[in-house]
Structures are given as C-alpha cells and as structure tokens.
Amino acid sequence: MSSLTSEPRSAVIEHRPNRTAQRVLDRLHANGSRFFTGVPCSLLSDYFDILEKSQGTGDAMCYIPATREDSAVGVASGLALAGERPVVLMQNSGLGYCLNVITSLNLVYALPVLFIIGWRGHTPADAPEHQIIGPRLTRLLDTFDLPWITLQPGSPEQSVDDCLERQGNSRCCSFLLVTGGE
C-alpha cells in the first residue's frame, strides 16, 4: 500500500469498546442492578472498562473492586440481603475460590446473585493454566445445579433476559458465560 494512502504511524488508535458489553450491562442496569463487583478477566475487559468509568453515584452503575472472587460473592450477598440485585464478574479461574461461599451461603440462604464469567480454556488453544477447568466449567456448574447460559453476541439482551429468568426460577444464582468470541 502506498504511504500516501495509509494511516500515519503516529495516529492514535481509538479503542472502541465492544458494544456487546455495553448492551449486557445496560440490560442488567435497566433491570435494577446498581452494584457490580468482581475481579478482572481479560475476556471481560470491556465490561470492567465501562464499570470503571461509571459515575458510581445516584442511579449510575457502581463498581466495587474486590480483592478475591469469594469476597466479591460475600459483598454481593450482603447487597442481596439489602434488597439489591448484585452482579459479580470474574474469570472462571475464580469460581473455585467461590464454591464455599456459593454452596454454604447463597444456595443455603437463597441469596440471588448473577455472575458474568469469562470462560478461559474454552478451547484447547488457550493457555495451559486454563486447560483443566476450562473444558469442565459447565460440568462444575451442573454439579451444583447452577443454571448457566453462554452469551450470544448477536443478541446480548436476550441472553441477559434468559440468565435472569433462570436466576428467578431455580437456584437463585445464574451464570452468563462469556467466551470472548464476539
């Protein structure tokens, strides 16, 4: 390509956040979720980017950074007891830390939390540390009858609605799995 028509090398590359993340969060926010907590996952970087930029006051989405994923579930449980509709975001590697809180607190007391999980190790092409839990993620959730759906990038609102419906219907916690395929 000729240098006259190509982009200048010094041009700032504008980062346009993926619209899917915005639509997912907006749908949850419209459904009454004000508080979002968790630990970052690279597959969810657009979500965290939006949350970090949110005002956090009044009715705006409020992000509470957690030090570990199980503590995020603890915070979310306190929010749920106070009548809020908390959302917890994490990488699937954090789910292992959360199992005690989910199984001895959320499921025992029926404290509703919606989880957005970045699905590392979804394919064998991913890094080695994800290759044990990655292929078994949905089986792990199934073991505790935890409802899950995989986010469909073409219809994020529908995916959120499906996930919310499962939260209400069964075990109070439901999981939106994000493969990063969008």
Partner: protein, 203 residues
C-alpha cells in the same frame, strides 16, 4: 494488660461478656457474625432482628457486612469476626478500607480454632497493625469490658478483643431456618431505612 478483677483473682474477658457489651452499645446497628460458635453465642444472647448469622462461608463476615453497608449508607454495621476467620480472609481488609463503610470490624480473639476443637491457629500477627496497614481509619486492642464499654473508634474501624476460650459447652446450633435468618436481616435493613424514605413512602 488490663484484667477484670474477680473475687477469685484476675481473669480474662469471656466471649459472652464481650458480645453483651457490643449488643448493648450498638442496638440500632446491623450485626453480621461469623460461622462456628460465635454466631451460636450471639443467637443465644439476643432475640432482636438486627443480627445476620453466618452458618458457613468462613471469612465472609466483613464482606457481607460491607455489601450491606454499601447498600444502606445511613446505617451502622458491626462485623463480628473470629481470629481464625479473619486470618482466613485477610485480603478483605483492603477492600473494606477502600470503600470506607460506616462499619466496626470486631475480632473476638481466643487464640485458637475453637469451633473445630481448639486446634492451633497461625500466630504472631497483629490484627490492629494489619488493619491500619490496609487502610482502616482506626484500630484498637482491648482485654477488658471496661475498655470495651468506653471505646469510640472512627469507622471503618477494627476492634481486636482478646477473650479466653470457652470453659463450658458452646451455645446450641441455631434452629432458625437459613431462609428465615435472611428474611429477618432483610426486614431489619428495610425498616431501618432513613426516616426521609419512610416519610416519602407514607405519602
């Protein structure tokens, strides 16, 4: 170290004594107590609805209280932790400090893992130093009910209370179903909303 004078000599504070002082000092605060004997002790001491009892999820007393405090900024909260349960989840300290809740984080420290049979716990750390390093606004250590009764700390605060292991049988298991424990807490939080909100609801 201050000790309570007793007729048969000096003795350490007991868990039940410390809990009674906390309940008396903070009648309008929401308490969140950790699993094991502490929740059972607290449930045996009060029938009021301002307590949320954890049966499991060791290490989550402060995070749960934090979540409530974020949702209900007009209220005051007391997280009742044990030494073992706080050590299990020390990483909650910076998270609590960063949110700056209106919260007192109590650590009832009997020096052992009492609820599982009195096994050794990891020793050698200072809970007050850990809290201050994490960013808590204040932290203090007490060994007597007299000191406990008069202490006022700016939140978020950590209050390290040294107590002796229980000599008698622990309080019985909590008979109330967990769903009811949750409903009681939710009801207390709802009723305790600011008077302005309640006035608006009335009109």
């Amino acid at each position: 170290m201050l000790l309570i004078p007793a007729s048969d000599g000096w003795r350490m504070m007991q868990t039940a004594e410390a809990l009674k002082v906390i309940l008396d000092r903070f009648p309008n605060s929401m308490m969140v107590s950790t699993c094991g004997y502490l929740s059972r002790d607290l449930a045996a001491l009060t029938k009021e609805k301002n307590c949320f009892y954890l049966l499991g999820a060791m290490g989550m007393a402060a995070p749960v209280a934090l979540g409530m405090a974020i949702a209900c900024p007009a209220l005051h909260f007391v997280a009742i932790d044990g030494d073992g349960s706080l050590l299990m989840n020390l990483s909650c300290l910076p998270m609590v400090a960063a949110q700056s809740p209106n919260m007192l984080h109590v650590v009832l420290d009997n020096g052992v893992h009492e609820s599982t049979g009195g096994q050794r716990r990891v020793t050698g750390s200072s809970f007050t130093s850990l809290a201050q390093a994490a960013g808590y606004r204040s932290a203090a250590r007490v060994d007597s009910t007299a000191a406990l009764e008069r202490l006022a700390l700016e939140p978020p605060a950590l209050l390290h209370i040294v107590v002796e292991p229980r000599s008698g049988k622990p309080a019985p298991r909590i008979a109330t179903p967990p769903a009811e424990l949750a409903a009681n807490a939710t009801e207390f939080l709802r009723r305790s909303e600011s008077p302005r909100t309640q006035d608006q609801e009335a009109t």
